[in-house]
Amino acid sequence: MKIAVIVFPGSNCDLDIYEALHTVCQADVEYVPHKATSLAGFDAVMIPGGFSYGDYLRAGAIARFAPVMKEVIRLAKEGKPVFGTCNGFQILTEAGLLPGALKRNDSQQFVCKTVPLEVVNNQTIFTKQYEAHERINLPIAHADGSYYADQATLDALEANHQVVFRYAEENPNGSLNNIAGITNQAGNVLGMMPHPERAVEAILGNTDGLRLFKSLLTYGTVKA
């Protein structure tokens, strides 16, 4: 499985996802700049966190116009895995690959800390290695992470088991239904505010995110 890590101007967790896949998981991974016009040969796409285009206008709003996004949308439509964390989640909603939107945190403040999550759906290609309803801890670091969608959309997300992660104790940002991460209806596009790539090495104190990448890579092996 060959994986692309998209680098937008202002992305800053690109290194973290790259290292998690390359160094920790020994996966085949490459950086792809935002001006690239082809993702030919790639089997999966990672959209990293950060502040693409400075988060000016709205977080993720401008990145969706970058040339590479046409290709990201093509891969998503083909059913290939597309994963976005933090700003990557915001970009995926702005690009229409995931429903809803991410609002400013209710506290109006950026918040960086580790929070407990519930793995709500362990049947996705990203979460197969977690137990059903397992409690895990992952870091969050965002100012615009309050998930919002209208009631009909929320009902559909719940009915289709598209809610993959939920904040398990306190809700750190005001997300509706305590949503921390969702997939599209087909299940191949996952967006989440928490950072699994920050929790893959014991020396940094947390390995709860590792199985997300392992799940994806195992899926890739089975497919290939």
Partner: protein, 82 residues
């Protein structure tokens, strides 16, 4: 020609910043203030003689300035600057 485009949260979307500001106004003593909504505006200047400004405004708002999942907009054609 200048157009001012106002973007706000939809009526149904919780606006915590507006609530916080309302609380601050109340501590100033203005209990008569019932609600505050926060939004942003964009002053967009078109070249003189631009045709169909309103269609352009609509497209700019729809495609870029507004996230219709949570936001809505209005606009106002400004008097030409001196």
């Amino acid at each position: 020609m200048q157009v001012r485009i106002f973007v706000t949260y939809k009526q149904s979307v919780f606006d915590p910043q507006g609530e916080t500001i309302k609380d601050a106004i109340h501590t100033l003593g203005h209990q008569e203030v019932e609600a505050v909504k926060v939004g942003k505006f964009f002053d967009v200047t078109f070249a003189p003689g631009t045709k169909d400004v309103e269609a352009a405004v609509k497209e700019i708002a729809d495609q870029l300035l507004v996230n219709f999942n949570m936001e809505t907009y209005t606009y106002q054609v400004m008097e030409d600057a001196e």
